[in-house]
Structure formats: structure tokens, C-alpha cells
């Protein structure tokens, strides 16, 4: 039998933080790498939708952590955002929004080639050879991001800890750079 206890072990404080930080990361990529903007409040929108949906947007605790589920949902919304249908009178901070009601806006995120993304990030971090090394190694990965640091450390011959430190620097570099 279902009860509130079934959802009692969720760390909501952490979920809120994770979603807000994820939104910030994606926003920086959109603004500084793709020269695109995304609507505000995606993290808030995801949590509100989860509460407002009687069936929890289809999430089942047996299938995985809510944190992971909501991050994926936010990611999908982020990619979809610039392509939303324009509605009459709707305001948008998206500079590529459709000009006519019902017209599909250009979605530069959706069209972005992964290699092109890496090339642009590499250009932004060009002054730091250790970061460029990380970016080059990431390009060679097979797509399993859970083992990414281990694989990158083996590729460039350093420790996992050093990879984590460099990635921390890369996150900071991306957040400080201006377009």
C-alpha cells in the first residue's frame, strides 16, 4: 500500500541545489558557447511540475533516484526551450524566438554538434594547456560519463583527483568568461 513514507527519504534540500546548479551550468554553456539564451526558472519549473502532477511525472522510486530523474527532465527542457512554439503575446528572452505565432523558433542547441561544442569550449580555455588536455581527452571518451574521470585520467596519465581539480577550474573558467 502506498503512503507518504514511501517518499520520506528524499533529500529535497540537495535536489533543489542540484537542479539550480545544473540550470546555471547549462545556461552558461548556452550563453557563452552557443551564444543562445534559455528561459529563467527551469529548476523551479521542474520541481513545481513534479508536485503538481498527481502521478509524479511518471517517476517511480524503484526505477532510480528522484535527483537523477529531475536532472534529466531539466536537461530535456533546456534543449527544447529555444524551440518552443511562440504564442501570441507571450514574452520571451530568447533572441532567436519565432517572430510569428505558431512558427517554430530556430533551436541552436538542438542543432549543435557535440564536436562543435568541444571546439568552442577549447577556444574559450585556450590559454590553459591543462584544460585543453582535459577537453581533448573527453572527446575520445565512449560516452559513459560515470566513469569519465577514470578514463580521462588514464588517457592523459594523471590521477583522478587531478582530473577533478582541472574540471573544477574548467567550470570556473566557463562561468567567468564573457562572450
Amino acid at each position: 500500500m502506498k503512503s507518504a513514507n514511501q517518499y520520506g527519504n528524499i533529500d529535497w534540500e540537495r535536489i533543489r541545489k542540484v537542479l539550480v546548479v545544473r540550470e546555471g551550468q547549462l545556461r552558461r554553456i548556452a550563453e557563452r558557447v552557443v551564444d543562445e539564451t534559455t528561459p529563467d526558472e527551469l529548476a523551479s519549473e521542474v520541481i513545481r511540475e513534479f508536485f503538481n502532477h498527481r502521478n509524479r511525472l511518471g517517476w517511480d522510486p524503484k526505477k532510480g533516484a528522484l535527483e537523477w530523474f529531475l536532472v534529466r527532465l531539466l536537461d530535456r527542457k533546456w534543449i527544447d526551450c529555444p524551440g518552443r512554439e511562440a504564442t501570441p503575446g507571450a514574452s520571451s528572452n530568447n533572441r532567436h524566438a519565432a517572430s510569428e505565432p505558431g512558427q517554430k523558433a530556430e533551436n541552436r542547441l538542438e542543432e549543435l554538434d557535440p564536436h562543435e561544442l568541444l571546439k568552442r569550449v577549447r577556444d574559450l580555455a585556450a590559454n590553459d594547456s591543462e584544460l585543453v588536455e582535459i577537453i581533448d581527452a573527453v572527446e575520445l571518451l565512449d560516452g559513459d560519463s560515470h566513469q569519465a574521470n577514470q578514463q580521462v585520467s588514464e588517457l592523459i596519465g594523471t590521477s583522478v583527483k587531478d582530473v577533478e581539480k582541472r574540471k573544477k577550474r574548467l567550470r570556473r573558467t566557463l562561468s567567468e568568461l564573457r562572450v
Partner: protein, 149 residues
């Protein structure tokens, strides 16, 4: 593979690449997560934010005459303010209100609270009269003083 599948695969690859490059925030250590969060949303109490969102959703369900779903109830329960969340001053106020439930405020008495609101519609003259009455209540005149009047 049709267009839709191809697009879905491309999106998946793009997001995996971003994860590999920057790390998903779900993989970040707590201290860095806290730092990044306070940079993005300075001053926000995440627990409080979630509680407000859950409370608003619960209200909507109630207004619609529906039972509040378990996942919303659980979020309200999980984000309930606790005594540990309160500041030392807040804890003292809470204890004070429990020990002295009849004492609502320790501020000096004011004439029916009228002097505290600038838009109360009371003229300066009336306000002075009310203040005088308030002083009388605070410092009652002796019978001797009453006789002098």
C-alpha cells in the same frame, strides 16, 4: 533510424558530453555544490523554497477538492521547520511564547496601535489625546492628583 530517433540520440550524446566535461551536479561534492548554489541563488534557503512550492501545490489540490498526493505530503513533512533550523534568538522567542502564552508583546503599550501606522486617519490632535490616555493607563493618577483637577 528515423529523424526523431536520430535527434534523440544526438541530444543524448550532447548531454553526455556536457556531463563528461563539467560533471553532473549530482556528482559534485557537497562543499562545491553549496558554493555553486550560493553563487547562482545567493540568499535562498533551498529547504524553505521547496516547502513553499509543496505548500502551494497542496493548496491547489485542496481547492480542487482533491486529496493531496503522497509525494507532496512527504515533501511537506521532509521540509518541516525544526527547532534546529531556528536562530538562537528565534529559539528564545519560541520558548518565551510557550512559557508566557498570555504575553503577546513586550513592547510598551501604544494607544490601540494607532500611532504605529502612518495612514491610520487620526489627526495630530486626536493622536495627542490618545497618547495622553495611553499614558494615564500606564501611570494611573493618585486619588490626590484626581482631587486637584
Amino acid at each position: 533510424m528515423n529523424d526523431k530517433d536520430e535527434r534523440a540520440l544526438k541530444r543524448k550524446k550532447l548531454l553526455e558530453l556536457i556531463d563528461a566535461l563539467l560533471e553532473g551536479p549530482d556528482q559534485l561534492p557537497d562543499d562545491e555544490l553549496d558554493d555553486l548554489f550560493s553563487q547562482v541563488n545567493p540568499g535562498e534557503d533551498p529547504r524553505d523554497w521547496v516547502r513553499t512550492a509543496a505548500f502551494t501545490a497542496a493548496q491547489s489540490y485542496r481547492i480542487a477538492g482533491e486529496k493531496v498526493p503522497y509525494h507532496v505530503q512527504a515533501a511537506l513533512e521532509a521540509t518541516k521547520p525544526t527547532i534546529e533550523d531556528s536562530s538562537p534568538g528565534g529559539v528564545m522567542k519560541l520558548i518565551d511564547s510557550l512559557l508566557n502564552p498570555a504575553v503577546a508583546s513586550r513592547r510598551p503599550p501604544s494607544p490601540a496601535g494607532l500611532t504605529e501606522r502612518p495612514d491610520n486617519g487620526v489627526s495630530k490632535r486626536d493622536s495627542a489625546i490618545l497618547q495622553g490616555l495611553s499614558d494615564e493607563i500606564s501611570h494611573p493618577k493618585s486619588a490626590e492628583q484626581e482631587d486637584d483637577l
